[in-house]
Symmetry: C2
Subunit: 365 residues, 2 copies
């Protein structure tokens, strides 16, 4: 989607992925096959580029630092990536900046987990410090017996873990923040995100929260992005607790699933503003085009080919914006596309998006 946005602005893109059968290769001007953690591969990319950016946070910070040391503009910076990639370091940075997070502590042994249990009570969360996403790398510890189960499930002997107090939230909310290399910052509306099996399922914009809570959430999100020295579009995931306070869950240093609705929903999408931000161009308006927008992810239901069914039926529903990513294979829970609807009635937007999303299947049984 970054490449699609770039094309509209006449910006040519070169992408790097391990395979040439990846979605990005179908929309970028040129594609290079290679491992993005290999500095030689990144150098080849940089040789063709005025600026290097990324759309996932798993590129090795060291590889990016190599490019930076050679004078290549890389946004977000390796420093930002390094902070965010390690969720424990990320949380410590947020805490140091005075921002509210759930309580957390290092958990380099099962003994420390027992100490965490004593401090936080059950349930509490056990998380991998690195490479977690969509709930992968997380484990909910419900009882003393589950400490060992969780430790083994996440392979604590080989993966650094940390523990986090369970946050009994009333809602999960998220905010896209876009921060330019010039320092200019814009903030998108606060949205409500509804997860299913730990995967983002529905995004409702705007979140149904009071103006005061929204203001507080925006202030915290902006401060969080500053704390990690973010550049470009970043997703800030927050909890709205049952006593109406805001707690930072985690940050994504990139365009984010909770911001896909901005393509049709807002005057400037998170993708275009990311490009503007890393090129030092003025940022665009982030307000909603209509009163509301709803985004629903289309997930694969099983392993298999990626041929979608139900498209004609879905497109027959008024006002559907269908995005299919052209991934080569479907997997259970894999994000294969999404649907956005915009409307002055959020109920109408939600109803139409849900109807359409139900109709599109990838190997659903």
């Amino acid at each position: 989607m970054l490449c699609q946005s770039a094309a509209q602005l006449g910006i040519r893109t070169t992408t790097v992925e391990r395979s040439s059968e990846c979605p990005a290769a179908t929309v970028s001007h040129t594609h290079q096959e290679g491992d993005w953690n290999d500095p030689a591969v990144l150098r080849r990319l940089a040789a063709e580029s005025d600026v290097v950016t990324l759309e996932n946070e798993f590129v090795h910070a060291d590889a990016l630092a190599t490019l930076e040391s050679e004078g290549v503009p890389v946004y977000p910076s390796s420093e930002c990536l390094r902070t965010i990639q390690d969720k424990l370091v990320q949380k410590r940075s947020l805490k140091t900046a005075g921002l509210p997070t759930p309580q957390f502590r290092d958990a380099s042994s099962q003994q420390e987990l027992e100490a965490a249990a004593k401090e936080y009570g059950y349930p509490f969360l056990l998380k991998r410090r690195r490479n977690g996403y969509d709930g992968k790398g997380n484990f909910t510890v419900n009882s003393p017996a589950e400490i060992e189960v969780g430790w083994n499930h996440l392979d604590g002997d080989n993966n650094p873990l940390f523990a986090e107090k369970f946050c009994d939230f009333q809602a999960e909310i998220a905010i896209m923040v876009c921060r330019s290399i010039t320092g200019e910052t814009v903030v998108y509306p606060v949205v409500e995100t509804i997860q299913r099996d730990h995967i983002c399922h529905i995004v409702k914009a705007p979140a149904r929260i009071s103006a005061a809570i929204a203001e507080s959430a925006i202030e915290i999100a902006e401060a969080a992005v500053s704390a990690v020295k973010g550049t470009g579009s970043l997703g800030v995931e927050l909890f709205l607790t049952k006593d109406d306070s805001i707690v930072v869950n985690e940050l994504a240093p990139r365009v984010h699933n909770s911001g896909h609705y901005t393509i049709e929903g807002c005057h400037t999408s998170q993708f275009e503003n990311h490009l503007r931000a890393i090129l030092g161009l003025p940022l665009g308006a982030t307000s909603l085009v209509k009163q509301s927008a709803v985004m629903i992810n289309i997930l694969g239901d099983s392993e298999g080919p990626s041929y979608p069914a139900g498209i004609p039926e879905a497109l027959a529903i008024e006002g559907i914006h269908l995005h299919l990513y052209g991934k080569d294979k479907s997997q259970s829970g894999r994000k294969m596309g999404h649907i956005t609807t915009i409307s002055d009635s959020i109920d109408e937007a939600l109803e139409n998006a849900q109807k359409a999303a139900k109709l599109i299947t990838f190997n659903r049984r």
Copy 2:
């Protein structure tokens, strides 16, 4: 822009152009270099494609007919192309269907032009039957002395010409019509188009005309598309005469400059609906997202490299949607990009689009 729209739907595109340095090559999945009038080149394209379409009307109808005879789905059809490519045949088809057009007559000699002058008076129009666009291939004959000038200017000895009565219009209006291979047809709002030096300069949606006139224009546009057996998105250019009647000027059997505003301005763009139409998918809603939209073309001012200036200044204007086509060279009057603004106030949309368009230059002196 068709390729960009296809990418969103997960549709892969292969493009054919004489050069590989064309804008389409930067946004299609694969690009083939070749002459699109060569059946062998088209066959190579068809071998990779489920359906073949076009985004200009100058592809030889015979070459397309060859593909059709081999069983390749081609939309619009060679028959439609053949009718539209020859503007005299096009006008005869419209007249046969009972649709209002300016008076016209064949002009295969200067003597016939004198007869046309007697019938229509001065000024009248002299036009090439084929390959005219943006006013190229047209000549306004203002006096008897200009008959020979016009004949020579358009090289009447080597290009078939026709004559047309001058239409003293109060406004030029246009309508995008999209007709699916299933027969389903949708119509976009009536827009006003303002030309400068015979090139589309500004499109205002909706046109400021009465509901009755709009209804009549829409009825005529739909009938015109039926008359030429159009498939996909077609642009219908109309004159609103000083006595408030509607006259068909001409048709474009493709996505059209007067419909570029639909990308941000309407719930479904002319590009997406074209794709839906040629794939037999249900057509999307064509209503405006806000009360109004304005599109302004960005033209080159002289021959030279295509590096644009003024982008940061233009993007600083609220609500600008900038499209740059990545053409390799600028020429005077060449369409290098466009700007769209959407707003509940058409005056605001126009003001912002004009401000921004003035700032972006390609070799302007």
